[in-house]
Subunit: 171 residues, 2 copies
DNA sequence: GCAGGCCAGTTCCACTTTAGAACCCACATT
DNA sequence: AATGTGGGTTCTAAAGTGGAACTGGCCTGC
């Protein structure tokens, strides 16, 4: 499967990864949430190659995650800002950072802290059920085909006739 | 910056991406949460090349996200299972899937639904503050250096002396 | 009125990674 | 002995990446 075929899959994960699932894109977005907005600032903070940065920014603009806003004329200069679609990636970024804080921090502890201005405390992000507000445990979640499901595509492995004997090749 | 330098950065995001931030790894993990466990099943469901699948599974085992469990002898056969460290990636996976559901679903709607067995409802994952349980808004979150912070490394862009004039080159 | 600098890219080339197919090996079945 | 199964490894060509240099409009200083 090529990278550009990913977005056509009947799977929200694949489709999301076709936008953000690249070596650099999530790091660019992290910096966006840290209020970096300009080409050279991304470039020097990330140490990314200029051609790749230009390509990734363009792709993020094309997929409406970022938008270019003029900040000067003569010559026209644009900065890159998160759209609402981009802002909606916040839980993704925070979940990744939090996992790193828990599982990949050195002895010295986590590099960044997050303070919730609403309540005034340093916090961790927690993922809860939208219906009962309890913390989600993967073992308490059942996956079901939704309205946009393709037949037998990316269903749970155990939903396909119960055992390996009965399964059809998924490809 | 090379891929293998990423894990050495003083940033939880970089460190996490050094483990999971690859084109295929998150798709493999999605299938792990869908209870796929065997080499050929990953291969046929994902359409991934065998050499790359072998490499990614090995790396996930090396970083303790997956573990190999024998399910038969003569010949020895192993299946790949999520460790606790791997299970802790659930919020990451769910956040990505949810973003795809909201922003990348076709007309037909989302491909998969999630049912919370604890409360019996279909749900969406919601990210909340661990302290006050309110939904997180990036504009209400302030980023501060933590105990493991390196000097001036990956700080918010606006924490560096307030304006572009005063900033030192971050590299 | 020309050198040099700033910002935002683009071009070029060497190097690395990936995709895809074929091959391999240790059994187990027929 | 031939065939099948599970889990890989070995190839090659194509794609992607990193780094440095180049482009080009505008501004500043001299």
């Amino acid at each position: 499967m090529q990278w550009n075929e990913l977005g056509e899959q009947t799977c929200s994960m694949s489709r999301t990864l076709s936008v953000i699932g690249d070596r650099w894109t999530l790091l660019i977005l992290r910096d966006c949430f840290l209020k970096v907005r300009r080409f050279d600032d991304f470039q020097s903070r990330l140490g990314i190659g200029r051609p790749i940065l230009a390509d990734r920014l363009q792709k993020l603009v094309d997929s409406f995650v970022l938008t270019k806003v003029a900040y000067q004329q003569n010559p026209m200069r644009y900065e890159y800002r998160l759209t609402q679609k981009g802002l909606d990636l916040y839980p993704v970024i925070m979940a990744i950072v939090h996992w790193g804080d828990v599982h990949m921090s050195g002895k010295k502890g986590r590099p960044l802290l997050h303070r919730h201005m609403t309540c005034g405390h340093n916090f961790d992000p927690v993922q809860v059920c939208s219906e009962c507000a309890e913390t989600l445990d993967p073992r308490q979640v059942q996956v079901l085909p939704g309205p946009g499901a393709a037949n037998r595509d990316h269903m749970p492995a155990d939903a396909a006739a119960g055992s390996r004997a009965g399964r059809a090749k998924a490809g």
